[in-house]
Every structure is written in C-alpha cells, then in structure tokens.
Symmetry: none
Subunit: 217 residues, 4 copies
Amino acid sequence: MTQGSAPAAAKVAKLNRVERNAWTKRKIFDAATKVVGKYGYSEASVARITEEAGVAQGTFYNHFENRQELLDQLLPKIGMDMVEFIRERTGTANAARQEIARFGAFFEFIREVPEFLRILNEAEFFAPNGYQKHLDNISTAYVRILRRARQAGAIEDFSDEEFEAIVHMFMGARGYLSRRYSYADGAVTAVPHHVISAYEKLITRGLYRPCGEDKQP
Amino acid sequence: MTQGSAPAAAKVAKLNRVERNAWTKRKIFDAATKVVGKYGYSEASVARITEEAGVAQGTFYNHFENRQELLDQLLPKIGMDMVEFIRERTGTANAARQEIARFGAFFEFIREVPEFLRILNEAEFFAPNGYQKHLDNISTAYVRILRRARQAGAIEDFSDEEFEAIVHMFMGARGYLSRRYSYADGAVTAVPHHVISAYEKLITRGLYRPCGEDKQP
Amino acid sequence: MTQGSAPAAAKVAKLNRVERNAWTKRKIFDAATKVVGKYGYSEASVARITEEAGVAQGTFYNHFENRQELLDQLLPKIGMDMVEFIRERTGTANAARQEIARFGAFFEFIREVPEFLRILNEAEFFAPNGYQKHLDNISTAYVRILRRARQAGAIEDFSDEEFEAIVHMFMGARGYLSRRYSYADGAVTAVPHHVISAYEKLITRGLYRPCGEDKQP
Amino acid sequence: MTQGSAPAAAKVAKLNRVERNAWTKRKIFDAATKVVGKYGYSEASVARITEEAGVAQGTFYNHFENRQELLDQLLPKIGMDMVEFIRERTGTANAARQEIARFGAFFEFIREVPEFLRILNEAEFFAPNGYQKHLDNISTAYVRILRRARQAGAIEDFSDEEFEAIVHMFMGARGYLSRRYSYADGAVTAVPHHVISAYEKLITRGLYRPCGEDKQP
DNA sequence: TATGAATGAGGCTTCATTCAT
DNA sequence: GATGAATGAAGCCTCATTCAT
C-alpha cells in the first residue's frame, strides 16, 4: 500500500509464507500455553487464546482442526521439554543419587515453566488424548532408566511390571507433592527440604540398594 | 395451594416439613453423585442433576446457594465414607501389614462406590474447595496413624513434616495407580497383584521397619 | 416489585402458567411464519425469529428442541389451514366444477396467507420432514376426493395409482403457476384469468367427463 | 520463479494462457456441478468446490465475481444440455406422440445426469437468477413447439398465453413427479409406468386432439 | 417450598471474501 | 493467474441463575 515500502520491509516481512505460517501457529500455541497455565483448560476458550495470540478467531481454524486438537498437543509438547530439562540435570552419580537429582529437577522445571503444573494436572480430564500420550512418553523413558539401574545392580528384586507400577507411583507422588507444596497463592515456590528428604528416604530404602553403591562399576 | 392437601398426601406426607426438606436435598445430592460419577463435573449441569433427582431446576436453588456449593460438598462427604470403610478393614496386625490392608481397602472401596474415583480425581479442578477439605481430612487422619506407628516403634527416623509429605505421596500414588489400573473400559476392575506387591516392597522397605515387627507390642 | 400491583394485574397476567407457555410458543411460531415467509428458510435464523417474537434466544429452546424442529412444523400446520380453507369454498356442484373451485380457492388462500407460498416451496429443501408430512396430508385427502368422483361416475378409466400421479401433477402445476403468476415484486397478486381457463380446459377434458355432468345424480 | 519452467511444464503446458484459463474455470464449474448435485446448494461452499476442483480458494475469485455468480450459471448451462438431449429423442410422429416422447426423454435425462434433478429443484431458491434464466429458456422453446402443433392443427382452442400457462404446468408436473418417483434412496430410478400412462391420458385428452391425428400434414 | 419458563452471555465453528506473495 | 492464510461476522446452541406463580 505504501508505495516505496519495499526496502523498508521490517522484521516480520522477511519471513516467507511457510515461515509466517509456522510463526502464526506458534503464536497460537504459546498463547494457549499461557492461557491454560493461568486459567486452566476449562477457561481456555478459543476467543481467549486467539486474543492472547493477537489473531482473529477464524485464524485459529487454519492451524488446528478444532479446539481440542490444540489442547491435546499442549502437554506432550511441554512434557518433552521437561524430559530434556531433567536429563540435562541428572548427572552421572550412582543410580539412587540420580533418582534424587531427577526428583529435584522436576521441581526446578516447574518453577522454570510455571504453566506446566496446571497443564499437567488438568490434562487428564480436559485433554485425555494428550495426557495419555504424555504418560506413555514418560513411562517408557522412566522404565528404561529403572531397567538400566537393575542391570547395573542398583535395584534388585523388581520385575518389569512392578517397575511400571513404581513409575506411576513416582509420577503420582510428584504431582501431589507439587500441587501441595509448589503453589503459593498462584505463584510457584520451591519445595521444602523435608519433602526431598522424605522422598529420598522412601526410595533409597524402598527401591534402590540402601548402601547407595551399585554392584557393577 | 397446599392447604387441604394434608390428608391426601401419600407416603411422603408422613414426613414433616423439616424431613421433607432434608429428603429433597438428599435426592439432589445423590443425583449429583451419580451424574458426576458418570459424566464428570463439567457435564454435571444443574439441569442434568435436577432431572436425575426428579425435581425442578428452581428447587435446586432452595437447597444450595449455587451449583458450585453442591459440587464442593460432594467429595468430602464421600471421602468420609471411604475413611470409615477403610478403618473397618484395617485389622490389628503390625503397622506395616495394616498399611498394606489400607492400600487394598482403598481399591475395594473404589469398586464399591464406582463414582468415587472420578469425583476424587476431578474434584481438584472442579471443586477446589471441596478437594482441599477432603485433603485435609485424609491427611490429618493419616498422619495420626503414622505417628502412632512411630510411637509403637514401627517407624523410625521420620519427622512429622516428613509424614505429611509421605501421606501426600501415598495419596498421589493411589490416585495414579487407580486411574492406571482400575479403569477397564469404563468399568472398574481389581488392581493387579504386581501393583500390590510393588507397593508393599516400596513401603515396607522404605518406611516401615523391614523386619515387619514392631519394637514395642 | 411495585408493591400494590396485585389487583392491577393486566391483560397478560390473567393467563396461568400453561396458557402463558402456550402463548409464548405461539409467539415464536407466528414469528417464524412471518420471517420464513418474508426472508425464506435460509435467512430464518433463531436470532431473527426470537427478535421478531420479542423473546430471548434462550427462550426458543424451551419450546423447541432445535431450529429444525420448528421449521419442520411450519408447513404441515399451515397446510392444514389451507385444506380447511379450500374445503369451505368447494361448493356442491358437479365434480369438475368443484375441481375448478378448489383450484381457484388455492390461489385465494395464497393471497390470504402470503407467507404460505414461500414456506411451501422452500420446505422441500429446508424442512424435508415437514414437507413430506404435508405432502402425505394433501395427497391422501386429494386422492380420496378423486375416488369419490370416480364412484360418482365423474371420472372414468383412472386407477388409484394413476390418481396419485395426477395429484402430484396438480400440486406441481399449482406450485409452478403460483410462483410464476402470483409473485409481483414480493407482493402476491391474483392469478390471471387465462391461467384458470387453461387449467379448466386441461382437466375437464383430460380427467373429468367432458360434458361436465356426472353419471349418477 | 516460473522463468525457466517453460520446457519442463508437462501436459498442461501445451495450453496457452487463454486455454489454461478456460481449463481452470471449467474445472471449477464441473466441481460445482458435482458438489451441488451431491450435497445441494447450501452445502456447496467455496471451500468444498475448490477442493473438489483441486485449486486454491483464491483461484475461485479469479474466475467468478463471487459464489453466487457461479451458482447462477449452473442450471442454465445444464438446462441447455437437457433441451438438446430431449430434442434428439423427440422423433417425427404426430404432435401428441412427440409430447409423450419428450416426457419420457426428460426422465431419461435425469438418469443420465443425476446431478440435474437436485440442481433444478434447488435452484429456484439458491440461484434465483439462474433459475429464471432457465425457466425462460425452456418456456420459450416449449411454447414454440406448442404453437407449431397448433399451426399443424394438432391443438385447438388454446391461446398463446394459455400455452405459457400450460408449459408451466408441464414443468411443474415433471418436477413433482421426478421428485416423487425418481429418487430411490439417493439413487435415481425409472419412473413407474402408471405415471407415464396418467400423463399420456391427461395431455392427449386435455390438450391435443383426442384422435391422435393432426389435421394438416 | 416447588416449579419451570425466561434470560442473555458466551462457547465453538463455518464461511465468503480479501490480499500479500 | 495462482495461492492459501487471515479476517470477523454470524450461526446454533448450552447453561447457571432468577423470579413470578
């Protein structure tokens, strides 16, 4: 429209069609993360999300089949970010120490990405497909870790099936604990030390070999 | 309108005003339990509940301030039923055995009252006040049990604060496990044995004295 | 609100609950007739209808399951009015004359109830159930008339099945003619005389005994 | 972007600009015929049509001013095909026989081009301009035929204006009959014989000279 | 106290059309 | 000329709550 504007074409104009498309989708996605994190799934109307994203409501449906599709993508996406985040902080100590590290990293992540907690907790009921996908992602990865620890001699006397149950307990425990201790009037705070210590005692005695040393180096 | 109706009023008429009132409220309450258990909180519209209860929508507001008030009463009420149910099945064996019994009784209760699972799980987000109340109820009772076990010498080395954390882990673990293992295509099934055994190992080794015998009789 | 208003309760207040209910439903129904007649089914949004009726949109759904249900009731209802209207104007002359009278009365009715034409014509596509019902109503009644004429000796050589086809042709012909000749820029005008005369010739010669006299007195 | 693409451009590239243009327009047109025939006008969104045609939505507006313009072209185009189809099957027998032949050919055409019926029937309300144009086309041609029959002595006692009315009745009758007898669960079937016979009786007696022989050769 | 019709805001989604690339 | 993302109005319907009877 402004005739001579070609050379001035600003930041956004540099993007080609494909990039612009991805950028818009990303805007919607990020907006949804923010909105669900703040208000919960049930208040995350398309109107609210698109307003937060700064696009028209109709635009939403150019990028997602419907509201639910977006909602179901939220958790698995952030969940993978979390897995990566935790992996980076796990260290190379013995298996029990690593488990403690993971436990702590989980709560660190929650503070880094405060939306995560609510998204995780509510997903089961508002985004069941996404929740299941996330569960499978986590469960698979976690069981693999436990198996490796068993091979290394750090765990004895647990079957694969029992591992799966243990993993579910861990996940459940973290969820409960995070909800109980990490919320402080909306804001997210650190988990108190006694929570860590209780968890440490429970799992080092109950799951991993008490001595804290793996059998095979 | 109702003036001369006293003699004709059948069965129900035997009730006086207060009893009738309580009876109606109860009908609504039971209907809500059924509806939420079957469809979840978000589908539990006032219309659906009153229809299930066989009363008019307006009647609802004679007994509850608003929809949320009823929803918030649901879980604490059933939760207390559950506590009683579990207490009756705890037995008098040593502390570790009792804990296993409680764990099992929890899953029994779920099968007795199939609505409970959904009400419990969703309450956190749809009936936060009721959820908190339920949490406090359970947590208080459970911590008391653990303290007593510690006094009896069955638990060592855990502080009161750690007990609270442990209780939350237990509750979280049960929730997760029940969701993972108790749903079978809508119906509620028994929890597989390896889940029980995994739990048993984890807590007898991690919390209670491994030998399974209390210090003081 | 106005404290002493009880004795003043005006016109509408005389109605009891049932009557008020019926009255509201009727208001919606009449509004729909007007709106569909003027704008056609596709423009007959619930918003437009309720606005015309002077009620809230939500009220609509207290009286009709959904938009389509109302739409499907429109034609059969008015169709029965039409049947009655025509019957009253059929007279007692011989069968052929009666047929001409019916033909004329049809066009009279269209002018009495100008909405009818559009409702009739569009119903096939926008209210198929209602259309089918109307068709059955009319077809049944019409075939009965033809049969009686055959019994009276006014018609020869047509089978029952052929009657049904004839009735469809009559209905189709009327529809076409009414659309062609009765619309005058939205308003509805009388059908020109040559249309009547053409119809008269066609059916008195083609269907009824040409002489215009029935066999049996 | 397109600079060097000339040599590589396959089959389609043989077409010059004008031909390509016409080809695209044709694709859209055919797609619209298919879509309207199958789903009706109201479901014939621009999105659906362009998808069926395999072009982008924007392309549509390079060839048609708007959605309605295309819709209005649909019926007149196919209508002319029908006229040609019927003419080829009219034969050279006497006028009454020819009329019967035309009646039969109409139903044949419906089976040849199954989309036609729906397009014809719905056009009146969804493509009024196109419908009017079609009506004029048919009416003009049909009246010419009747006039010629009158000149040949096969019809007596009908004025030109009455001819026009008769033509409308014929068209209306055909429409009704085709809808009543030609739809069989979506598919299009043959019209039962009694329909043909009823029509034959009606028009040979009512319009054409009963003897079936024209006055002047 | 019981009733149930009335309300109107708000939710999701579709769609014809525009316009920058 | 072709593309397809962006737009925003409009449609249907649900729902918690109110209020006159």
